[in-house]
């Protein structure tokens, strides 16, 4: 089964032991955004990670904090997949769907596997609930749920019964029904309850009544599932065989922040974050604001422009300036990023992409800001662009951004997306002592009577000196006006302008000189090379691995560095009959590659706000393989 990316569905056969072993399960929790589905999914995830399974998650929530209760726009979902082998995606179709109300049912039933388990909260199937979900007929009565294993439970009533002794009012008791549902699933999938007991005690430490009620509800759900025999069997999934090491479950934004802080520590260059809240990047601001004990200064600015400008001011002063945002924020920051390019200061711009254009769909994922990152500024203003592809990969990418920005004295754009930011996976923790060296050198004090040359360059990297204000003998002026190389004085000389534009481009190009070789999954030549960048990595890996197992000459490779591109990319591409590039945009990297290498890269585009499904990628590639033959 290893390497497969889809589950076969849960069996209905009853076994003597009552416990059946599966190699993987996909569960989707869906309910009103006030039903606590994200918390429920998160608890299941933590517990399961601690039990040693490989796990991947996909939270999918509405932009509205509280859309009208019971309506389709208010549905919030959390999908997770756990397994006894190495997995790359949170799965395509769920085996189990928990639907807390008719709207959640309507929004998600289409994806539930045939014969899958459907757990419904009957308390919210009253006529008004059905109407809010735009059902004209109760779906439980019209045969539309035939073919699923429907389990109807009045979670609200059961939870209230379990909490008769609680001091909470009914509203407070009803809030615990997600824990009742979690208790049922914990029994069904033989999960341990202790991690959640501990986590809730910590989360609501100041509200013991709430802790008690939630734990009671969970225990009651667990006991209910065990005693009333609603399920013929329960299931278990053995721990995955993962490489030895210490693990932690991590989300993309968390890992990105840890990478930045680790690199800052390694290079002895203190961090500064200037940021303005924006979905789905706000967690970066929250996370780094909590790292003051690592010397991180964070500044919640009055707007996106102030955020990046303050970060540039910090870099000018000798800290490493970072700004975190999403696409609309990058648009606002464009002029300031141009200033950092002109001033040749290090700067890290984190773009946690979301579905655009304009405000778009803030909580949905997309990779459509690549060309914005590449070209979204006035004048010739190239910048380094790198991308992370999984939650755990974000650590390395954050680290790499610091390395490049400080070594070459350039702004670096880091592309992540909502899927990576909010999804989680087990992360094999790095050996902290073995992290790559980052060397940051500030310009030393100047000699008396010798004029400081702010644009005198390192011959290898073309980086200019990092001269901190406050250092004696280094007073100088910089700015957005074109300047003479070496002296930094304002210059309108035509030859100098040509030279400076070429130099700024050359500086970015030289970043390619110290990149590791591209390592494809599969052979280094063959029929089809699937290239990927960013979050589609998991779906591509799963699809290509399956096709390889079926004997196809297909390989895949993933690009962390998008500008400059790795030097060995062209040769790799030319070793295959066809190169295909799945992207969650209209073919942005594909067109960059076609323009640069004159290779007929085939674009496979999806822009519906959802991640690729590995099955769809597999089917697409199978067709391409046929065409190639």
């Amino acid at each position: 089964m290893t390497g497969t990316d889809t589950t076969n569905g849960l069996t209905t056969s009853t076994l003597e032991s009552g416990i059946q072993e599966l190699d993987q399960v996909v569960i989707r929790f869906a309910g009103d955004s006030g039903d606590g589905m994200q918390l429920t999914g998160d608890q299941f995830t933590r517990t399961t990670a601690l039990m040693g399974n490989d796990i991947a998650t996909f939270p999918d929530f509405p932009a509205e904090i509280r859309a009208p209760a019971g309506t389709l726009p208010g549905v919030s979902a959390f999908q997770l997949r756990f397994s006894s082998f190495d997995i790359h995606t949170p799965g395509d179709a769920p085996d189990v769907l928990v639907a807390m109300n008719p709207a959640a049912l309507k929004a998600h039933i289409g994806q539930l596997k045939k014969n899958g388990i459907l757990l419904l909260n009957t308390a919210s199937f009253k006529p008004l609930d059905l109407k809010k979900a735009t059902y004209t007929v109760d779906p439980r009565t019209d045969g539309s749920l035939d073919g699923y294993r429907v389990i109807e439970i009045d979670l609200t009533a059961r939870t209230r019964e379990a909490l008769t002794e609680s001091d909470l009012d009914n509203r407070g008791k009803d809030r615990c029904k997600n824990m009742y549902a979690l208790g049922i699933l914990y029994w069904l999938f033989q999960r341990e309850v202790e991690p959640t007991q501990k986590a809730l005690a910590l989360k609501f430490a100041k509200k013991p009544a709430i802790v008690e009620a939630n734990l009671k509800a969970m225990a009651a759900g667990h006991a209910y599932a065990e005693t009333v025999e609603i399920f013929q069997v329960s299931y278990t999934v053995a721990p995955a065989k993962m490489p030895a090491g210490t693990y932690r479950n991590i989300m993309g934004n968390q890992a990105l922040c840890l990478g930045l802080v680790a690199a800052s520590n390694q290079g002895n260059v203190p961090l500064f974050l200037g940021s303005y809240p924006i979905t789905p990047a706000s967690d970066v601001l929250h996370q780094l604001s909590g790292y003051k004990n690592h010397g991180v200064v964070t500044f919640q600015a009055e707007d996106e422009i102030a955020a990046v400008c303050a970060a540039i001011g910090a870099s000018y002063t000798g800290r490493l300036g970072i700004t975190s945002t999403s696409g609309p924020g990058v648009a606002l920051k464009a002029e300031a990023i141009g200033l950092a390019i002109m001033a040749e200061l290090p700067l890290i711009v984190l773009n946690i992409q979301r579905a655009g254009p304009s405000t778009g769909m803030p909580t949905k994922t997309q990779q459509a800001d690549l060309l914005q990152a590449m070209y979204g500024r006035n004048g010739e203003s190239p910048m380094v662009v790198i991308a992370c592809s999984t939650a755990a990969d974000a650590f390395e990418v954050g680290y790499e951004a610091v390395r490049i920005a400080t070594k070459y004295m350039v702004p670096v754009m880091v592309l992540s997306d909502g899927y990576i930011a909010n999804g989680s996976e087990p992360w094999k923790l790095p050996d902290v002592d073995a992290l790559p060296k980052i060397e940051v050198n500030y310009a030393p004090e100047g000699k008396p009577d010798e004029k400081f040359k702010p644009y005198e360059r390192n011959p290898e990297t073309l980086a200019r000196p990092w001269a901190k204000p406050g250092t004696k003998g280094l007073v100088h002026r910089i700015g957005g006006l074109e300047k003479q190389d070496i002296t930094g004085n304002i210059s309108y000389d035509p030859d100098n302008h040509q030279h400076m534009i070429d130099t700024r481009a050359d500086k970015v190009a030289r970043v390619a000189n110290d990149l590791p070789p591209l390592v494809p999954i599969g052979e280094k030549s063959g029929d089809v090379l699937v290239l990927g960048w960013g979050s589609p990595r998991g779906a591509i890996t799963a699809a290509v691995t399956r096709l390889q197992e079926q004997g196809h000459k297909i390989s895949c490779a993933f690009l962390r560095h998008l500008n400059p591109l790795p030097n060995d990319l062209e040769a790799l591409m030319r070793s295959f009959k066809k190169v295909v590039l799945p992207e969650l945009n209209k073919g942005q990297l594909a067109s960059m590659l076609r323009a640069k290498y004159l290779i007929d890269v085939k674009s496979y585009s999806q822009v519906n706000g959802q991640p690729f499904q590995s099955h769809a990628v597999e089917d697409y590639m199978r067709n391409v393989l046929q065409e190639v033959k």
Binding site: N249, A306, A310, A314, G470, H476, G479
Partner: protein, 336 residues
């Protein structure tokens, strides 16, 4: 940093080797001169001084000072300077801006800098016109201003920068005039000694696009009658013989007092706990009343950068953590 190694610098030491390229006769020359004089008097050190500007004629200022300087982008100097101050609160950071730069495109950063009380010293050159783009009306141009972009007269109501700064919570708000050098230098020195944000609006004559905008009260013959010097704890008096004064009614409406009523002139208190009197002066009709210059408001209040610094230092002291402990945190498990 001992004073033995570094004898006190002179005004000349603050001049950079770059040719000053403002139009001959521009008020900016006088301001540059006064700032250099004041900086020398204050015993400032070149390497500890940073001058940050936005875009506009005034924003060329850093190139002419032999200190650290950053000529940034339009309207954003206070934001960039905030990053500098937060990164190194010890630096002496000055922002040079204009009425277009600070009041129009950079209005947001201006008010939020005031609100936070960042320890920046802001010199706002107000010539009531867009100079660098060759003469359009600005947010401080009087209504009816005829320019290339307002051939029938501008219909916009202007901002009073002092009132805006006061409204945004400014803790040091002052006004000076380009050609009144000693007074301007005194304002620069007072701004320098203030702990939080200092903002000086400097009336500056643009002799090309808005010549004479302030001559009605800055001309030698008019000054005595038309300028009201604000002096702390002294009555608001003006006129060659100090024979007229400004008083306020119960609603802080100003009126002119003279003769027997002169004693009713308001005794100025720049540290007043209410911004009302300062606001009343900042919004006086300059056709009817004298033009106040000097310190409108001065309030002692902890500044932003030290509060931020303190939080970080406390966190570092109380919760020191290795990178390994940071990464190997939360719920972790071992796979053998």
């Amino acid at each position: 940093m001992s004073s033995v190694e570094h004898p006190k610098l002179t005004k000349k030491d603050f001049k950079s080797d770059q040719d000053v390229r403002w139009c001959p006769g521009c008020g900016d020359y006088a301001i540059l001169n006064s700032v250099q004089t004041a900086f020398a008097d204050l015993g400032k050190k070149l390497h500890e001084t940073v001058i940050i500007s936005g875009i506009g004629c005034s924003s060329r200022f850093p190139y002419y000072m032999d200190t650290y300087g950053f000529h940034t982008i339009h309207g954003r100097a206070p934001a960039l300077a905030t990053g500098v101050k937060l990164s190194n609160p010890e630096l002496d950071v000055w922002v040079v801006t204009g009425d277009g730069d600070a009041m129009s495109i950079g209005g947001n950063h201006f008010i939020h800098t005031m609100r936070r009380n960042v320890g920046l010293k802001i010199l706002l050159f107000n010539n009531r016109i867009y100079g660098l783009t060759k003469g359009q009306f600005s947010p401080t141009s009087p209504q009816g201003k005829v320019t290339k972009s307002s051939p029938l007269g501008s219909v916009d109501y202007p901002f009073a920068p002092i009132a805006l700064a006061l409204g945004a919570g400014g803790t040091f708000v002052a006004r000076a005039v380009d050609i009144l050098g000693p007074h301007l230098q005194s304002m620069v020195k007072q701004a320098d000694s203030h702990n939080g944000t200092s903002m000086i609006e400097i009336y500056q004559n643009c002799n090309i696009f808005n010549d004479g905008a302030f001559t009605g009260f800055t001309d030698k013959g008019a000054r005595d009658e038309r300028i009201l010097y604000l002096e702390h704890q002294k009555p608001l008096l003006f006129g060659a013989n100090k024979d007229k004064g400004i008083a306020f009614d119960a609603h802080f409406r100003p009126f002119i007092v003279e003769g027997d009523d002169l004693g009713k002139a308001y005794v100025w208190d720049e540290t007043s706990d209410t911004p009302a009197p300062a606001m009343a002066l900042a919004t006086m009709d300059e056709e009817v009343f004298p033009v106040p210059i000097g310190v409108f408001r001065r309030q002692d209040k902890p500044n932003f950068e030290y509060a931020v610094k303190q939080q970080v230092e406390t966190a570092v002291a109380n919760n020191k953590q290795s990178i390994k402990d940071l990464i190997y945190a939360g719920e972790i498990w071992d796979v053998k």
